[in-house]
Symmetry: C2
């Protein structure tokens, strides 16, 4: 028998479900549109039916647990609460509902960035680490903080929101309703805002001036940088400065040995990570200097969301 867990990644558009062994090999994957299910109960019925059919087709698999990564997920309560991008409003008791179809199976849920951190711990570059942080740089900035081998959930299950710490009082408007949040500077959308600001303030030439503001992407900025665009360089430097500044705060709080950077923007590699490293060191207390490794995630080129969710299930089984 091959022991497996199921990892379920719930996104606003699609739900992807993977059957994953203890080494992180995804043996099968199923995708269903999330948006077509306006009600939660038919959705749970549908995904359960699909999962059971796949399990029935593989008599040599032994299901050990199910992990779910979802926006606004609460680990302690097993719920999804007031998720803006999902159709199901209010508080959805997701784990309880799924357990009706999978009795006696360990089921746990957390948000996607926390799941990514657990994925790093179970399958990725953090296997032997006790204290580390994962930062996911996509449209926004997600994070999972691991202290002494366990993910930090906090008293309410919502800890690890580094993206919504404040960089500047009265700074950029954030989607969360606050101002000056880190993710308005360090994320794909934050970089576009920074680039636009730099283009306004400078008179230097740049190919990026030809791209309308609402079409500009972080990939355009990366491409320009690689062609030697000075203003694109300035944008990466500033992004690294602000991210480095706030990572220094994370270090002052929890003192991780490693920080893993993950997601679309992180694929730029050292052109982003080098300024992050340089500025973080500048803003660290002397006792923390020169001992923290910042590197790309070990799960950069796989379906890390599904793997992270399945890792959450393995992590629960260790308890």
């Amino acid at each position: 028998m091959t022991q497996i867990t199921i990892g379920i990644d719930i996104g606003g558009t699609n739900t992807v479900m993977g059957f994953v062994d203890r080494e992180g090999n995804c043996l099968a994957e199923i995708s269903v549109p999330t948006r077509e299910h306006a009600e939660i109960d038919p959705y749970i019925q549908n995904i359960s039916r699909l999962l059971k059919a796949e399990l029935a087709a593989h008599a040599d698999w032994q299901l050990m647990g199910i992990g779910i990564g979802a926006p606004n997920a609460n680990y302690h309560r097993g719920t999804i609460e007031e998720a803006p991008n999902l159709a199901w409003k209010g508080t959805v008791h997701f784990c309880d509902k799924l357990a009706e179809f999978f009795p006696n199976i360990a089921i746990a849920i957390t948000n996607d960035a926390n799941a990514a951190a657990i994925g790093e711990m179970i399958y990725g570059a953090a296997k032997d680490l006790r204290d580390f942080v994962v930062i996911t740089l996509g449209t926004g900035l997600g994070s999972g903080i691991v202290v002494d081998g366990n993910l930090v959930y906090g008293h309410d299950g919502f800890a690890g929101e580094v993206g919504h710490t404040t960089v500047f009082l009265d700074g950029r408007q954030c989607g969360c309703g606050k101002r000056g949040c880190l993710e308005t500077y360090a994320s794909a959308t934050g970089m576009v805002r920074t680039m636009t600001e730099i283009l306004c303030n400078s008179q230097k030439p740049s190919d990026l001036r030809a791209i309308p503001n609402n079409k500009l992407t972080s990939l355009d900025i990366e491409t320009a940088l690689k062609k030697g665009d000075e203003l694109a360089q300035e944008c990466f430097d500033y992004t690294g400065k602000i991210l480095g500044l706030k990572l220094a705060d994370v270090v002052a709080h929890t003192s991780p040995s490693h920080i893993f950077i993950f997601g679309g923007v992180a694929k730029a590699g050292d052109v982003l990570l080098n300024p992050v490293r340089r500025y973080m060191e500048e803003y660290l207390l002397p006792i923390f200097k020169n001992k923290i490794t910042i590197q790309q995630s070990g799960l950069q080129n796989v379906n890390a969301a599904v793997l992270g969710a399945s890792a959450l299930a393995w992590k629960e089984l260790e308890k």
Copy 2:
């Protein structure tokens, strides 16, 4: 037999040692000058001799462990490292040295703010809490962060330095060598700097104008506030704003249910804590709003440093 632990609070001037029972009653206390011991070995010999004499005088005491609170103490290594205010330079292997005199006794060391957090957990207002933070407002700002019932030490033993997170890029010069650290705003000395700035910027009358800058204390500001001084009010409000801002970052990282404020400045009570509460709420993500309690420490009027150190020993025994 009464089970006791010894709590040793090492300050630059004095070392205070208390014999404490499980309920937090300090049954006896000994004080020795720290400064008179330029070398570590005679110091350890001297305090060990005094401790053993006291223990010998109380045949009904059973020594369970020894906890030490000291500046720049490293929990993982049992050391004091490069402490600026102590005569012993370099890395002092404090626990190992003390263990030569107390073999087979559990001995642990951490910094004073971490010890205060453990004191709060063992004897104080955090007995039943799993996730909380203690902030000590004295000359500087110390902190201890507790996640899921355990103090956060980090990979290197130095976590919990909230006082040296950055408020403003290129802000006030800090004693640590950085700029804009929280403790240059939220501490007794930070409040004096803020008050001085307010007096410069305003033309309103204030009794505080009569006090020379190098004589002004946070207590003077509190006294003026209570007499209705508008500028002193502004100083408390600004201090609360900056502390509230950075506590919101702590919440975003670790989501504690309670934040305990401790130390000389905290004795001002709600005139300080109310602005801290108001501004922290303003800077919190919606999911964190209206669920965190900010209150004065439960150990405000006792020798919390000695109790905290002794609590560290009880905490070790639980492991």
